[in-house]
């Protein structure tokens, strides 16, 4: 268990704030019709991706969940989030060169793909894990998904394979109790994904997804196990999305508005609020620092918007050369 220095804690905090600011930027740009594709906000989910991705090495592999379209997973790892905004504006400076729509990729930091078809990440991650096991460099793969994604057959086949072959894969499930408009209480009898994992003999832990340190610590344990040949683990993070499934869509459960009380109750446990309170109490954060970090993030977002706006579109002549590798 790594001792988290003040600097580490501030890195986590700053990453959360930057994630939220960039999420808000994408939300606004979507509302203004400036994103050329859809956007699924990470609002409420920030602590999961940030806390878990903070643990891994630069050469590990990540398969991201769609909340925030990569922001929570990439910012904490030092990837410049303007490339996310630029991608959504279809610009050549985007992380997919502006041709992918919304897919998040960063080859250098092992962010290989995101799923247009939810759930694909499980089996692709099994492949990253297989490669990691084979090459003996101690790499691991971490696969993020939602509770909805878990309902796909890919989950079953991947976790079974990883368990049988002891592949170094950590499954992090962001369980917000919903898949698009549908509450999962009506689509599964399984309350905790962790219980399912245990049936495959995969160690599983349930953590408070609003508590970034809880996510960090659970991931740390799972990653260590994986790196040391102990095989896969699953971490179920109980979390909540504050906004609608994707921008511009109604916010319903089945077909009725979601409960305002429920949303308000979860907002009380907002992951940034909780962490901020803790860090203030622990004297890591001061009011001035909070303000500075927020301001810097705001400025960064403003600059990112301008950068993206000013960036050129990709050269369409590239497209035919993108289908096959030489």
């Amino acid at each position: 268990m790594k001792k988290l220095s003040k600097q580490d804690l501030l890195h986590l905090y700053r990453s959360l704030i930057r994630t939220r600011k960039f999420d808000q930027l994408n939300i606004r740009l979507a509302a203004e019709g400036k994103l050329l594709t859809f956007y699924h906000s990470a609002h409420g989910h920030e602590a999961v991706g940030t806390g878990a991705a903070a643990v891994v090495r630069d050469d590990d592999y990540l398969f991201i969940h769609h909340r925030g379209h990569g922001l929570p997973y990439s910012i904490v790892r030092g990837i410049d989030p303007k490339s996310c905004v630029a991608e959504h504006m279809g610009k050549s400076t985007g992380w997919g060169g502006g041709i992918t729509g919304f897919h998040a990729v960063d080859k250098e930091m092992g962010i290989l793909s995101s799923a247009g078809t939810i759930g694909s990440g499980f089996v692709l991650s099994a492949g990253y894990g297989l490669a990691a096991k084979k090459n003996g460099r101690g790499q691991i793969a971490i696969c993020f998904s939602g509770d909805g994604g878990v309902q796909r057959g890919q989950f079953h086949e991947a976790i079974n394979l990883c368990a049988a072959w002891k592949l170094p894969v950590v499954f992090v499930v962001e369980n917000n109790g919903m898949a698009w408009f549908t509450p999962n209480r009506d689509t599964t009898a399984v309350e905790n994904v962790a219980d399912l994992a245990k049936a495959y003999k995969v160690p599983a832990e349930i953590v408070d997804g609003m508590d970034i340190l809880a996510v960090y610590r659970a991931t740390e344990k799972a990653v260590e196990l994986a790196r040391n040949g102990g095989g896969p683990s699953l971490i179920e993070c109980k979390t909540f999305r504050y906004r609608s499934h994707s921008e511009g869509r109604p916010d319903v459960s089945h077909f009725e508005p979601r409960s305002k009380e429920e949303i308000a109750a979860w907002m009380e446990r907002d992951p940034i609020k909780l962490f901020e309170e803790k860090l203030v109490k622990d004297k890591v954060l001061t009011a001035t620092l909070i303000e500075t970090i927020a301001r810097e993030a705001d400025e960064e977002a403003v600059a990112a918007e301008k950068f993206s706006f000013d960036s050129p579109f990709p050269d369409p002549a590239r497209l035919p050369h993108m289908v096959y590798a030489p």
Binding site: E87, G90, I99, T117
Partner: protein, 321 residues
């Protein structure tokens, strides 16, 4: 008469069929609220036992559709995006398509697989396809691609009543279309093309949203080229006779389809024309389709999927200009 939007024409068709036949039900992810609106409003009328919000499980949704159909129901399965047919290919392209055959023609699989299809929203390679050719290539499935609200309603009703699995892909770009819809019931039989515009210089076979682009192109070309626009409306069965008749008259033909070119819809229609009307052709059959590439997202999509200028150009070229 009343004006209906494209999606509303579809939901009205489903509602009428659900009211008529209690064997019809809707199953899929989020069908109660319906992100693309085509099943919106049904749960209020028919309850959640007949408009079933399912798990995020394409295999189970499509598989249960096939099973329930074989056991006497007429499910309408919403795949959400038509692209997700890739996620249940065993169930849709193999099982639904072949179970009637495997049961020696004794057990039918009456069901509909609906999905929103096509480009226009920059959503990239996994949310922008019209998987038409894959469906056509797997015998046993029928395939409907409605290009406007009127057709959508009449064809959906026929699809639900058909005793075979029918893929019904409606186009994102048709969503804002509005049209007068008769108050009385009507059904458009599967397998009847419609000549959307009569002409003499060139036959334009267009599918799905491309029909609308072709009509616009024909208008812009008025005076220069007299285009006959044929919308097959259903690709399986394909009303090849109407196409051949037109080609025999115009002696020139271009096929405009939004699915990927290679082994696509256009190649098939082209070859059927070659087989039946070779001697009538004054020029090669030509085609305009999505490029042989994944569908690029955002601003690059328009370089992969045919747009109005290319449609105009293709018609001009086919007409020999």
């Amino acid at each position: 008469m009343k004006e209906l939007m494209y999606w509303n024409a579809i939901s009205e068709a489903i509602a009428e069929e659900m009211a008529r036949d209690d064997k019809v039900f809707v199953i899929g992810e989020n069908v109660q609220e319906s992100p693309f609106l085509a099943t919106k409003g049904l749960v209020q009328k028919f309850g959640s036992d007949r408009v079933m919000d399912a798990p995020l499980s394409e295999l189970a949704i499509a598989g249960a559709t096939v099973g329930a159909a074989m056991a006497g129901y007429r499910p309408v399965c919403d795949l959400t995006f038509a692209d997700f047919i890739y996620c249940a290919a065993d169930e849709v392209l193999m099982k639904a398509a072949q179970q009637y055959f495997i049961h020696n023609g004794e057990v039918g699989v009456p069901c509909v697989f609906m999905g929103v299809a096509g480009g226009g929203f920059g959503n990239g390679p996994e949310h922008s396809r019209i998987p038409a050719a894959m469906v056509m290539h797997n015998p046993g499935l029928k395939l409907v691609l409605p290009s406007n609200p009127y057709d959508a309603k009449g064809l959906m009703k026929a699809a639900i009543r058909d005793n075979n699995p029918v893929c019904f892909f409606f186009h994102k770009k048709c969503m804002p279309m509005k049209q007068e819809i008769p108050d009385e019931e009507y059904i458009i039989p599967l397998g009847k093309a419609e000549i959307k515009r009569a002409g003499t210089d060139v036959t334009v076979v267009a599918t799905s949203y491309m029909v609308n682009l072709a009509l616009e192109a024909a208008k812009q070309l008025e005076g220069k080229v007299s285009s006959e626009i044929i919308d097959p409306r259903t690709l399986v069965p394909l009303d090849i006779d109407t196409i051949i008749e037109s080609v025999k008259k115009t002696n020139r033909v271009v096929i405009i389809d939004e699915d990927t070119e290679c082994c696509g819809v256009a190649a098939e229609i082209a070859q059927q024309i070659i087989e039946r009307a070779f001697d009538y052709l004054d020029a090669p059959v030509s085609r305009l389709c999505a490029a042989n590439s994944p569908i690029a997202g955002a601003a690059m999509e328009k370089y992969v999927i045919p747009q109005l200028p290319q449609v105009i150009k293709a018609i001009e070229t086919a007409a020999g200009l």
